[in-house]
C-alpha cells in the first residue's frame, strides 16, 4: 500500500479516536441533575423520556418547576390508568416548551398536551428567552441531537447574543471547569439514565396555612395583561398551538395556584383559548380549587406543590383527562413497573413528618433504607420497655437496660445483619455500603467518652449531634439522605 494512503488511513483512525474521546469527555463534564442532587431531576427525566417505548404516551405536560411538582404521571396512571409524562423543567419558558414538544413528537403521538402558563409572564425580563442561561442549558443539553435541537439552539442564540451557539455543540467551552468537581453520577451513566417518576418530582415539605383563591370580578377587564406578558412567549405559544393543531393534539392551558393572577391575565387567557379553540383551566379560581379538594397545610397545591397536594391535583387532572378528553386507560408495563417505587417515594416523604419513636422505627424498617445510629452522651436513661421492644423489633440485638451513659452505634444495611457496638469508651466505625460505592463513618461518644456524635456519609456530616439517639436514614434508590433526626434520652418525640 502506498505510504500516502497509509498516512491518510492512520490520520482518519487517529482523528476518529480523538473525536470519540473528546465527545466522551464532554458527556462526563456536562452537569447532571437527578433525584440524588436536585429537587428537579431534569437530566434523568429527559433521559428516561427517550427510553419510553414509542407512541405509548397519551398526555404530555410542559411547564416550569411548578408543573414538575404538580402532575405526577404515576399517580394519574394509578388512579385513572392514563399514560402520561411530565416534560416540564425548572423555569421552562414557552420557548423551551415549544421545542421540547417538537422533539417529543418525533417519538410519541400524544392526544393531549397540558401547558403551564406561568412563563407566559415576563418573569425574567433580563433574559432574552425569559429564563436564565444555566436553566436553559439544563433543559436543552439533555435533548438528543437532531434538526429540532439545532433549530432550538440557533433560535436561542439569535435571540440572546450573550450565548454562543458553538458552546452547545462543544459543551466543554461551557463546562470544562467542572473537572474539579466531578462526582460518581458524572462517571456512571446508569445513575442518570432512569427517572422512575417520569418527569415528576416530589417535595416533602408542608405548605402554607391558607391560600386566597382567585375570583373573577370583571369578565370584561383586559388590562394588566400586556405589562406582564412577554411578547416572545406569546409568539411561541402561537407556534405551540399551531404545532398541536397540525398534529391533531388537544391543547389545555393551565394556571396553577400560586401563579400571578388577576382579571387581566384570566380574561386574556380565556379569550386566547376561545380564539384558538383550546381549553384553559385556571386552577387559581375558587371553583377549581375547591374541586381539587386539597387541604392545607399538608396537601399543598400552592406554588411548588408538595407530594400530597400533587396527589390531589393529579387525581383531578386524571379525571379531567378521562372525562373531558376521553383518554382511555391502557395497562402498560412501563407504569406498572414503577408503582412500587412510587409507593416508596410516598413513604420517603412521610418519614420526615413522623415524630413518634415507635412509629419512626417501624417506618425505617425497609429494604430501601440504610440506617445509621450514633448515641451521644446517653440514650438509655428513661427508655421504656415499649421503646426497647421497638428497637428489638427493628433488629437491634443490644440490651439497652444496662447501657446508661454508654457510647453506642448501629449500622443497618439492606440484606445484612445489623452492625452494632456499645462501650464506655468512644466508638468509631467506618465501612462501605452500596457495594462499596459509598463510605460511612460513625463516631459515638457517651457521657464519659467525650459527648459527641458524628455520622458522615461520603465525607459529609449528617448527625444532629445532640444527646440521645442520632439517626440518619439513607434512601438507597434515590441515593441520598432523606431524614436525620434525634431522640433525646428517653424521649419519644423526634427532634429535627
Amino acid at each position: 500500500m502506498p505510504e500516502k494512503i497509509k498516512g491518510i488511513i492512520r490520520s482518519v483512525i487517529f482523528l476518529s479516536i480523538l473525536a470519540s474521546v473528546l465527545c466522551w469527555i464532554n458527556q462526563i463534564l456536562e452537569p447532571k441533575y437527578l433525584y440524588k442532587n436536585s429537587t428537579w431531576p431534569t437530566t434523568s427525566s429527559y433521559h428516561q423520556f427517550y427510553q419510553m417505548e414509542e407512541n405509548t404516551i397519551d398526555v404530555l405536560f410542559f411547564g416550569s418547576s411548578v408543573c414538575v411538582n404538580a402532575f405526577s404521571p404515576q399517580e394519574i396512571y394509578n388512579s385513572c390508568g392514563i399514560r402520561s409524562y411530565n416534560l416540564g423543567s425548572e423555569q421552562q419558558s414557552i420557548f423551551l416548551s415549544y421545542f421540547w414538544l417538537k422533539e417529543a413528537l418525533r417519538f410519541q403521538s400524544p392526544q393531549v398536551v397540558v401547558l403551564d402558563t406561568k412563563f407566559l409572564m415576563d418573569i425574567h425580563p433580563e433574559n432574552a428567552i425569559n429564563t436564565t442561561e444555566g436553566l436553559t442549558r439544563k433543559c436543552l443539553d439533555p435533548m438528543k441531537w437532531s434538526k429540532v435541537k439545532a433549530e432550538a439552539v440557533n433560535a436561542l442564540c439569535s435571540l440572546d447574543e450573550n450565548q454562543s451557539e458553538l458552546s452547545y455543540y462543544l459543551t466543554n467551552i461551557r463546562f470544562h471547569s467542572r473537572w474539579s468537581s466531578l462526582a460518581e453520577h458524572d462517571l456512571d451513566q446508569s445513575e442518570y439514565q432512569y427517572a422512575e417518576l417520569k418527569g415528576y418530582s416530589a417535595i416533602a415539605d408542608y405548605g402554607p396555612q391558607a391560600y386566597g383563591t382567585f375570583q373573577s370580578s370583571d369578565p370584561d377587564r383586559y388590562e394588566n395583561f400586556e405589562p406582564v406578558i412577554d411578547p416572545l412567549m406569546l409568539e411561541y405559544l402561537d407556534r405551540l398551538t399551531a404545532l398541536c393543531q397540525e398534529n391533531h393534539i388537544r391543547l389545555a392551558l393551565v394556571s396553577l395556584p400560586g401563579n400571578e393572577m388577576n382579571d387581566g391575565i384570566h380574561n386574556n387567557l380565556t379569550k386566547y383559548a376561545a380564539d384558538h379553540h383550546i381549553d384553559y383551566y385556571n386552577f387559581c379560581e375558587t371553583g377549581y380549587y375547591e374541586a381539587i379538594g386539597a387541604e392545607l397545610p399538608k396537601e399543598s397545591v400552592i406554588g411548588h406543590e408538595n407530594l400530597w397536594g400533587s396527589i390531589k391535583m393529579s387525581k383531578y387532572m386524571g379525571n379531567l383527562l378521562s372525562e373531558t378528553y376521553g383518554i382511555a386507560p391502557v395497562p402498560d408495563h412501563q407504569w406498572e413497573e414503577t408503582k412500587e417505587y412510587y409507593a416508596q417515594l410516598i413513604r420517603n416523604c412521610e418519614l420526615p413528618h413522623i415524630s413518634d419513636f415507635n412509629e419512626y422505627f417501624k417506618a425505617v424498617r425497609s429494604p430501601y433504607y440504610s440506617v445509621f445510629i450514633s448515641v451521644r452522651e446517653d440514650a438509655v436513661t428513661g427508655i421504656t420497655d415499649e421503646m426497647k421492644q421497638t428497637l428489638k423489633d427493628f433488629g437491634l440485638k443490644t440490651d439497652f437496660s444496662d447501657k446508661r451513659r454508654c457510647s453506642y452505634y448501629a449500622v443497618i444495611l439492606p440484606g445484612q445483619a445489623p452492625i452494632e457496638k456499645t462501650s464506655k469508651e468512644a466508638l468509631t466505625i467506618t465501612g462501605g455500603f452500596r457495594n462499596g460505592r459509598s463510605v460511612y463513618k460513625i463516631v459515638s461518644q457517651g457521657y464519659y467518652a467525650g459527648k459527641a456524635s458524628i455520622i458522615e456519609i461520603d465525607g459529609v456530616g449528617y448527625s444532629r449531634n445532640g444527646r440521645g439517639f442520632n439517626i440518619v436514614v439513607y434512601d438507597n434508590s434515590s441515593m441520598k439522605v432523606i431524614d436525620r433526626v434525634r431522640f433525646d434520652m428517653g424521649g419519644t418525640s423526634a427532634i429535627r
Binding site: 498516512g7 473528546l22 458552546s167 466543554n172 467551552i173 470544562h176 471547569s177
Partner: protein, 487 residues
C-alpha cells in the same frame, strides 16, 4: 472575530491547507495570499482598517520600487535618504501618528485621545515595512516587483497579529516557491500548535486570573500579593506571547514555511543585556539594526553608547504603548544595562568576595535570579494601570508586610482555587523541564518522531484531552486575545 485560538480559525486552516496542497506548486502562494486576505478581513471590526492596511502595502510597494530605481541613479545621497524617509513616513504614518498623538494628548496635555482607526497588526507590519524599505535602500535586498507577492509578504496570516517580525530575505523564497507536502514537517507543525495551546490555556490564561485580580484591585492587594502577581505576570506575558508565536510557527509549518524563533528561554538570562538577546528576538534585532546601529551603536565612546541605548529603549517603550509607564519601562531597561555596565567591576569583586567564580553554577543561578527580579519589577510597571500605580505597587513590596498569605490559603482566594493553582504549578514545571532540555540542545520533537505509533498517539491524546479539560478558557473567562496583539 477570528484569532489563532478560535474554532473558526481551525476550520479555515483545514480548508486552506487542503486547497494549498491540491493546487499546483506555482499557484500555492496565491492560496496563502487569499487565505491571508480572508483571515485579515475576519479579524477587523471596521472596513476602514482594511483600507488603511492596503494603503500601507500599496505605498510601501511603490516606494520600494522607487528606492531600488534610485539606487542606480547618480542622485545626491541626501535626496535618496529623503525619498526613503518619505516612503517610511507615508507607509507607516498610522503607527507614527497614533503613537505621537496618543502620547502628546494623553500624557502631555491630558486631553482625550484622537480616535485613530488602528489596523490589526499595525505595530508589527509597520516595522516590517521599515526594514523592507531600508534594506532596499542599503542594497541588502532587491524589491519585490509583483504587488501580490509583496502583499503576501506583509500580510502573511500566521505572523500578522503578533509577529515574529520577519525580514524579507528570510521569507522571500519560502513564501513564494510553493512547498510539497512533507508529513514530518506537517506533524511538527501540529505539535507546535498543541504546545502553543498548552502555553496559552494551561499557563497564560490561568496566571491571568490571579494577575488581573491583584492588578485590577491594587489598593486591596499589596505587599506579597504584588510579588506573587508580578512573578505570575512575568510568566503570563512570556507564555502568552510565546504561545502565539509557537502557534504561528506551527501554522506556517503546515504550509512548509519556517518562521524564526522569537524567544530563547529569556528567564534563563544572567543579565538584562542577555535577556534582550533572548526576549522578542525579532524586535530586539530590528531595534538593533534600524535604531541602535544607525544612531551610532557602540561607536563614539561610552557616553554616546549609553545615549544610543537609552534612545533605543525609549523607542521600544513607545512602540509598546504611548504612555509614561511604557516610556519608563523602556528607560528602566536602558538604565539596567547602563548600571550593569558601570558596576561590572564592582559585581566581579562582590562575586569574588562571595567565592562565586565565573562559570560556577551557583553564580549563574544567582545572576538568573537577580535578573528575573529586575525584569519582574519592570513588568509590574508594564502591567499596572499607570506609572504612578506601578511605582506604588513596587513600593508596597517593601513597605507592606503580609508573608502569611503564602501559608493561610489566601493565594487560593484570588480567583484560582487550589486545584487550578496546582495545575498551573505543574504546567510551569513542565515548561521549565522542556526549557532546560532545549537549553541543553535536546529537541523533544526529534525524540518524539522516533517513537512508535501507539506512544505518539497516546501522547497526542493526553495532550489534547489535558488541555481540553484542564485549560482555562470558555465561559466565565474571556482572554482569547493575545497580550502582544494589543501593542
Amino acid at each position: 472575530m477570528m484569532n489563532y485560538v478560535s474554532f473558526v480559525f481551525y476550520v479555515f486552516l483545514i480548508l486552506l491547507t487542503a486547497v494549498y496542497y491540491i493546487l499546483p506548486l506555482n499557484f500555492r502562494w496565491l492560496v496563502l495570499l487569499a487565505g491571508s486576505g480572508f483571515f485579515y478581513y475576519f479579524t477587523i471590526y471596521r472596513r476602514m482598517q482594511l483600507v488603511i492596511f492596503a494603503m500601507s502595502i500599496g505605498i510601501s510597494y511603490l516606494f520600494g520600487i522607487l528606492i531600488q530605481h534610485l539606487r542606480t541613479r547618480q542622485w545626491k545621497p541626501g535626496w535618496k535618504q529623503l525619498i526613503l524617509i518619505t516612503g517610511i513616513v507615508l507607509s507607516v504614518f498610522p503607527l507614527f501618528g497614533s503613537k505621537c498623538t496618543d502620547f502628546f494628548l494623553g500624557c502631555i496635555v491630558h486631553k482625550q485621545k484622537f480616535p485613530w482607526i488602528i489596523p490589526v497588526g499595525l505595530s508589527f507590519y509597520s516595522l516590517q515595512i521599515i526594514a523592507y524599505l531600508t534594506d532596499i535602500y542599503k542594497g541588502r535586498i532587491d524589491c519585490q516587483r509583483n504587488p501580490f507577492k509583496y502583499a503576501l509578504f506583509i500580510s502573511f496570516f500566521p505572523h500578522i497579529i503578533q509577529g515574529p517580525i520577519p525580514r524579507y530575505q528570510q521569507l522571500e523564497k519560502q513564501l513564494f516557491c510553493g512547498h510539497r507536502y512533507d508529513s514530518d514537517k506537517f506533524m511538527k507543525g501540529i505539535q507546535l500548535i498543541i504546545w502553543g495551546f498548552f502555553l496559552k490555556y494551561m499557563i497564560a490564561n490561568k496566571a491571568s486570573v490571579i494577575v488581573d485580580t491583584v492588578f485590577n484591585n491594587h489598593m486591596t492587594y499589596q505587599g506579597l500579593y504584588v510579588a506573587v502577581a508580578g512573578v505570575l505576570y512575568s510568566f503570563q506575558l512570556y507564555t502568552d506571547f510565546l504561545s502565539c508565536v509557537t502557534i504561528s510557527q506551527g501554522v506556517s509549518q503546515l504550509f512548509g514555511i519556517c518562521l524564526t524563533d522569537n524567544f530563547n528561554h529569556p528567564y534563563f538570562s544572567v543579565s538584562v543585556k542577555e535577556f534582550w538577546r533572548r526576549w522578542h528576538i525579532s524586535l530586539s534585532h530590528w531595534l538593533r539594526d534600524y535604531i541602535y546601529i544607525p544612531l551610532g551603536g557602540n561607536r563614539g565612546g561610552r557616553l554616546c553608547k549609553y545615549r544610543n541605548l537609552v534612545l533605543t529603549f525609549v523607542v521600544s517603550g513607545i512602540w509598546h504603548g504611548a504612555s509614561w509607564k511604557f516610556l519608563f519601562w523602556g528607560l528602566m531597561h536602558g538604565g539596567y544595562q547602563i548600571a550593569g555596565d558601570l558596576t561590572h567591576d564592582l559585581q566581579e569583586k562582590i562575586y569574588g568576595f562571595l567565592q562565586m567564580p565565573p562559570g560556577s553554577r551557583l553564580r549563574r543561578l544567582f545572576q538568573q535570579l537577580v535578573t528575573f527580579c529586575l525584569i519582574t519589577a519592570a513588568w509590574i510597571i508594564f502591567r499596572a494601570d499607570s506609572l504612578k500605580t506601578g511605582i506604588k505597587m513596587i513600593r508596597s513590596l517593601f513597605t507592606f508586610r503580609n508573608p502569611w498569605i503564602l501559608f493561610d490559603n489566601s493565594i487560593f482566594r484570588l480567583g484560582l482555587n487550589q486545584k487550578e493553582c496546582e495545575v498551573l504549578g505543574l504546567s510551569l514545571l513542565l515548561l521549565l523541564f522542556v526549557s532546560i532540555l532545549q537549553e541543553r540542545g535536546i529537541v523533544i520533537r526529534n525524540w518524539f518522531v522516533r517513537q512508535c505509533l501507539p506512544v505518539r498517539w497516546s501522547i497526542y491524546l493526553c495532550a489534547v484531552c489535558g488541555i481540553w479539560v484542564l485549560g482555562t478558557y470558555g465561559f466565565g473567562f474571556d482572554a482569547n486575545d493575545f497580550i502582544y496583539g494589543g501593542f
